[in-house]
């Protein structure tokens, strides 16, 4: 299990990286390497050129402005996990990271790497989908921004062109006090999810849901949003019967199966995990203060 030969490039700037990617044949970008190198060791991936983004400082780090949080694609998962500001503004990310791999892989693994790898059971793409994140991409033809809904477009495939690099993720945090939950079932601690559910909720001062987001991982060839479930939530005050109805809608998907569980089991898990996520998100939600005249 030794990788096939390749040429290694460690560009110091994004422009240089993009130029390399555009000109070299069979080139592959390496971020944290926590999935790619394993695939290279198995020789499932055999790039002729490896372009390491590790020396491009501008790709790392968290930047907040008034509305938007920008996370550089090379930001290590560990940094996101331990960021107090993120825990406050986007608590769903931190909740999901508790399920992502192991300490040793989070120390190296990056947000951008996880999104570009696009494993359908992975937590981070699911959370980004739930948050309506936007993916900032730079390629030889210039920069563009792709909504997360359009970013993953099949089993481990994304909207990234062969000459494009994922640069950053833009997230608009929800109102402080919103409800959030990430629930997943994995066979063991840190394994990819068999299935998982990310839920975000916000309600008005009467507890009526004004905004909802429900995303699932592990049930289809990519993370999916459950629009019907969200529509059914808005305008409701949550109780067990609504939760049951919404979870049932969420779980009503064309699921795919693999050796860790067939489609029936995954639909079942989608329903159960959505139920739990709705309950937890609801319990965490602080309703808005009644506006005083």
């Amino acid at each position: 299990m030794k990788p096939a030969p390749f040429e290694y490039h460690a560009p110091a700037s994004l422009d240089e990286a993009v130029a390399l990617l555009a000109t070299l044949d069979n080139a592959k970008v390496i971020a944290g390497g926590q999935s790619l190198v394993a695939m290279m060791n198995f020789r499932y991936a055999m790039p002729d050129h490896l372009i390491d983004l590790g020396n491009i400082a501008s790709l790392s780090g968290l930047h907040f402005d008034a509305q938007i949080l920008r996370i550089g694609s090379m930001t290590r998962q560990r940094e996101i996990e331990f960021s107090a500001a993120l825990a406050n503004k986007v608590p769903l990310l931190k909740a999901a990271l508790a399920h992502v791999g192991h300490r040793q892989t989070r120390n190296r693994g990056t947000l951008g790497g996880s999104l570009a790898h696009a494993d359908p059971a992975a937590e981070l793409p699911t959370v980004c989908l739930a948050l309506d994140a936007e993916i900032e991409i730079v390629g030889a033809a210039g920069a563009r921004v792709v909504p997360m809904r359009d970013f993953t477009n099949g089993f481990m495939t994304t909207a990234l062109g062969y000459d494009e690099i994922l640069v950053a993720v833009h997230i608009r945090p929800w109102r402080l006090g919103h409800g959030y939950s990430f629930q997943e079932y994995a066979r063991r601690h840190g394994d990819f999810a068999v299935a998982g559910a990310a839920v975000l909720l916000d309600a008005n001062h009467d507890g009526v849901i004004e905004r909802a987001s429900v995303a699932l991982c592990g049930v289809a060839d990519r993370p999916i949003r459950r629009d019907e479930a969200e529509t059914a939530l808005v305008g409701q005050v949550l109780d067990e019967s609504i939760i049951a109805r919404v979870a049932s809608l969420a779980g009503d998907v064309e699921a795919t199966g693999d050796i860790h569980g067939d489609a029936t089991y995954r639909r079942h898990l989608a329903r159960v995990l959505t139920t739990r996520a709705l309950r937890e998100a609801s319990s965490r939600m602080t309703t808005k203060k009644r506006e005083t005249a």
Partner: protein
């Protein structure tokens, strides 16, 4: 097509300059180029954790990293844990609490626990177990390593308290 690269890397306090092939993993580099065979390879796909080392103080899989990426980095391997008087408190605790049997996975566990105890000197059993999920062990059933980690934490707290 194969390229080589000159790298300089600090390992356990000593600087090594070597020419490496791009595809050489950090694990093979440590084991075969530097001769630090205490870092073991159990799966070469990043799950078992036997190859865990510290890169700039952070635990990481040396099978999922290429040596060429380590230029200018500071590494610690299990050989760097010993202190002047012999075993470190964590290593001693592993002996005292039967934290190892065959010893093959042990190096990796020691590296992860070194990082944990420096970040969090007072971990709970659950926290110890969670970081150890990054390591597969077929011999111990984990009771010994968990006991050893908690005992080492107690011991280190005692040293700090006395200082």
């Amino acid at each position: 097509m194969t390229t080589t690269h000159s790298i300089s890397v600090n390992i356990n306090g000593q600087t090594y300059a070597r020419v490496v092939e791009a595809r050489m993993t950090l694990a093979d580099f440590l084991r075969h180029e530097i001769g630090l065979t205490g870092t073991h390879l159990g799966c070469e796909h990043g799950v078992c954790g036997a190859c865990t080392v510290l890169i700039d103080g952070r635990s990481a899989r040396s099978c999922l990293t290429f040596a060429v990426q380590m230029n200018g980095r500071t590494l610690t391997t299990v050989e760097g844990l010993n202190v002047a008087v012999g075993l470190s408190p964590l290593q001693q605790a592993f002996q005292e609490h039967h934290g190892l049997q065959c010893g093959f996975c042990t190096s990796g566990m020691l590296m992860t626990l070194t990082e944990l105890l420096s970040d969090n000197p007072d971990p709970t059993e659950q926290e110890v177990r969670e970081v150890l999920t990054g390591h597969l062990c077929r011999c111990t059933g984990y009771a010994g390593p968990v006991r050893a980690a908690l005992a080492a934490a107690e011991h280190l707290k005692g040293i700090k308290g006395a200082a």
